[in-house]
């Protein structure tokens, strides 16, 4: 149970920089998700922390130790893989005991630890089975037991749940979170799934083109994205561009949009992000920000209705509404939508 730090870590394959100058900290006992599009360098960063890849420059520390030059086997890490990676020729108990054996823990002491770990992942009594006799979800639990039984300094997970179906994945998310909380392990979790990242993590780091564009608590990152990319990648966003004018933003059509966030100086161009679910359809005039738009499509998704809209200027907008009254509006209708100034976030490019 230790904090993990990476300091100016960079990695280049050939001439393409895969990670450029990453500096960040994963505090002791925290659960951090690395989120980003394919090829953004999530796996590379995780594998640098694990020791499978040597960074071109930079330092990795686990606890108080600089581990940059320590090979994987000496780093005391717990790792989970997308493909489970259980040893197929060993029983479940042997799989879980493998790391203990490497640490000189054998016999009754090892058996006790193995049983405890299997109980923790809710697979007591499965020790004598072989990996082939388990379902995917069960195999991934064994992989988790195998990773945590060695009391690693850090738990590293590279999309461990993406091979599971939706239900099983949600079940495993709960388990993973429970076990992470119980064990207090510093955890770094790579995922494609933003919902997963938001629900599981203490911190979310958004990567783009080998850089961490934003890192913070899920609510912070979601409610106050720093860049257009972060706003777009994590959830959906509407973007309005305009010019700062007297503490508000004037759009091209003259509409004035207010925000509670600090704006740059008057006259500068600015992009505002508004989440589609923060907007609502109103019938009368409102004190909040508002716009008029025409419905191009209504998507009925059960609990939520998604409205695809277009303003008179041809600016596309999205609005998510709770399905209270069913689908009462239809394509072609013109509506007024409004949202609060505190939900209007200026973002960088």
């Amino acid at each position: 149970m230790t904090n993990v730090k990476v300091h100016s870590v960079a990695k280049t394959y050939g001439t393409t920089p895969v990670l450029s100058d990453i500096t960040t900290e994963f505090p002791e006992g925290s659960f951090t998700s690395l989120l980003g599009p394919s090829g953004s360098g999530k796996t590379t960063l995780l594998r640098i922390i694990a020791g499978f890849i040597k960074p071109d420059q930079g330092v990795v520390t686990i606890g108080n130790n600089d581990v940059t030059d320590i090979p994987v086997w000496g780093r005391n890490i717990g790792m989970m893989f997308q493909s489970y990676a259980l040893f197929p020729h060993m029983t479940i108990a042997q799989n879980v005991a493998f790391g203990l054996e490497r640490r000189g823990i054998k016999g009754a002491a090892a058996r006790k630890e193995v049983d405890r770990a299997l109980e923790m992942v809710r697979l007591p009594g499965f020790g004598s089975r072989t990996p082939k006799q388990l379902s995917g979800g069960q195999q991934q639990r064994v992989a988790l037991a195998r990773a945590i039984v060695i009391k690693p300094s850090v738990l590293l997970l590279d999309e461990p749940l993406s091979a599971l179906d939706r239900r099983l994945r949600q079940e495993m998310q709960v388990e993973l979170l429970r076990i992470q909380r119980e064990s207090g392990l510093t955890t770094i979790f790579v995922t494609h799934d933003q919902e997963e990242a938001l629900t599981l993590s203490d911190k979310v780091a958004i990567l783009d083109k080998g850089r961490i564009v934003q890192i913070g608590e899920p609510e912070d990152v979601y409610e106050r994205p720093l860049t257009r990319f972060a706003a777009e990648f994590l959830g959906d966003s509407n973007f309005l561009t305009g010019t700062v004018d007297n503490g508000a933003v004037r759009l091209a059509d003259g509409t004035v949009v207010r925000t509670t966030s600090t704006l740059p100086t008057s006259g500068s161009k600015v992009t505002l992000a508004v989440r589609p679910e923060k907007m609502s359809i109103v019938s009368g005039p409102t004190d909040d920000n508002s716009l008029t738009a025409r419905i191009t499509t209504v998507i009925y998704a059960g609990p939520v209705l998604s409205y695809m809209l277009e303003t008179a200027d041809g600016l596309p907008l999205k609005l998510f509404a709770q399905n209270r009254d069913g689908k009462v509006l239809s394509d072609g209708d013109t509506i007024t939508l409004s949202w609060a100034p505190e939900h209007t976030v200026p973002v960088g490019d």
Binding site: V72, W73, G74, A85, F87
Partner: protein, 304 residues
């Protein structure tokens, strides 16, 4: 199931209703299996059967001597006890050759799987297959040049230590094993390679993340997981090696008398095909007995 699907597929075929003639399922099964069994009969069963029949004859049927069916050929090991020694010698050569092939071949296959840099893997594969493509006779004779007194090996030694004696060991059992290992190593490399490439990288990474060093990964992960490759490679090598006659004859000289050379002599020199055949079948029986024992031991070993 499979056949039902086949016939129903033909019903829906492009010929439409005209192809509605449904074949009984056993017919299509037979038709599908025919090439396999036909080939087996032609390539394995017929020659073996002929030789098996020969092994019970009193003399080669092409000579003038009258043919009588007899079991006397199978008493060769009792009537000529020196054959037992030769047999053991052959089995030992087979054992050492297979062992060296297993160790070297496995390590070579591991290196091959690990070499992911550019074209290195392709180049290594070609280098490994080179002895395969060389004429066997050339391959073996080239070893005589290396191993004989004042041969290449001695020259090399004398370059470093000019006063050293000869370490050439041509015409010894070691020379035979060297020649055989060289010739049969590619089989082991290829079978092990096939077994090793099938292992998910993540399994090896998982092991090292749990604290395993390279030797633990080698002996606890790679060897057990590639065991099928090691076993099939061993079988593939052991059988032809104990029957080999070219390497023992050329590299073994006086000590190069093995079951392979004795059997070859029966066919080419002594013109005693029945004895050659019976010796072959005795050898085959011994090999099968060895494999049966071995596989029993293996099964018990993995069951624990």
């Amino acid at each position: 199931m499979q056949n039902d699907r086949l016939t129903s597929a033909s019903e829906r075929g492009p010929l439409g209703p005209r192809s509605r003639r449904v074949l009984p399922s056993w017919v299509s099964t037979m038709v599908l299996l025919l090439p396999t069994y036909g080939w087996l009969t032609l390539a394995v069963f017929l020659p073996l059967l002929t030789m098996f029949v020969f092994s019970f004859m009193s003399a080669t049927p092409m000579g003038k001597a009258p043919i009588v069916f007899t079991l006397k050929q199978y008493r060769a090991f009792i009537d000529q006890p020196y054959l037992v020694g030769i047999g053991i010698n052959s089995l030992l050569i087979g054992f050492w050759t297979t062992l060296f092939c297993a160790v070297l071949g496995f390590l070579a296959a591991v290196a091959l799987v690990q070499s992911t840099l550019g074209k290195t893997r392709e180049i290594l594969l070609i280098l490994i297959l080179l002895p395969f493509w060389t004429n066997g006779l050339v391959r073996v004779f080239s070893w005589t040049m290396v191993l004989r007194e004042n041969g290449f090996l001695d020259n090399l030694l004398h370059m470093i230590a000019p006063d050293a004696g000869s370490i050439g060991f041509l015409y010894t059992r070691y020379a035979i094993v060297v020649g055989l290992v060289h010739g049969y190593l590619p089989y082991m490399i290829l079978t092990c390679y096939i077994a090793l490439v099938a292992i998910d990288d993540a399994i090896i990474e998982a092991a090292s993340s749990l604290g395993a060093r390279w030797w633990t990964i080698l002996f606890k992960i790679l060897v057990p997981l590639a065991a099928p490759g090691l076993i099939s490679g061993s079988v593939l090598i052991f059988i032809p090696v104990i029957g080999s006659f070219m390497e023992p004859r050329i590299l073994g000289g006086r000590v190069g008398v093995t079951m392979g050379t004795v059997i070859e002599d029966q066919f080419t020199q002594a013109f005693n095909w029945p004895l050659g055949a019976s010796l072959s079948f005795t050898l085959l029986a011994v090999v099968l007995a060895i494999f049966a024992t071995f596989s029993g031991v293996l099964r018990r070993g993995t069951a624990v």
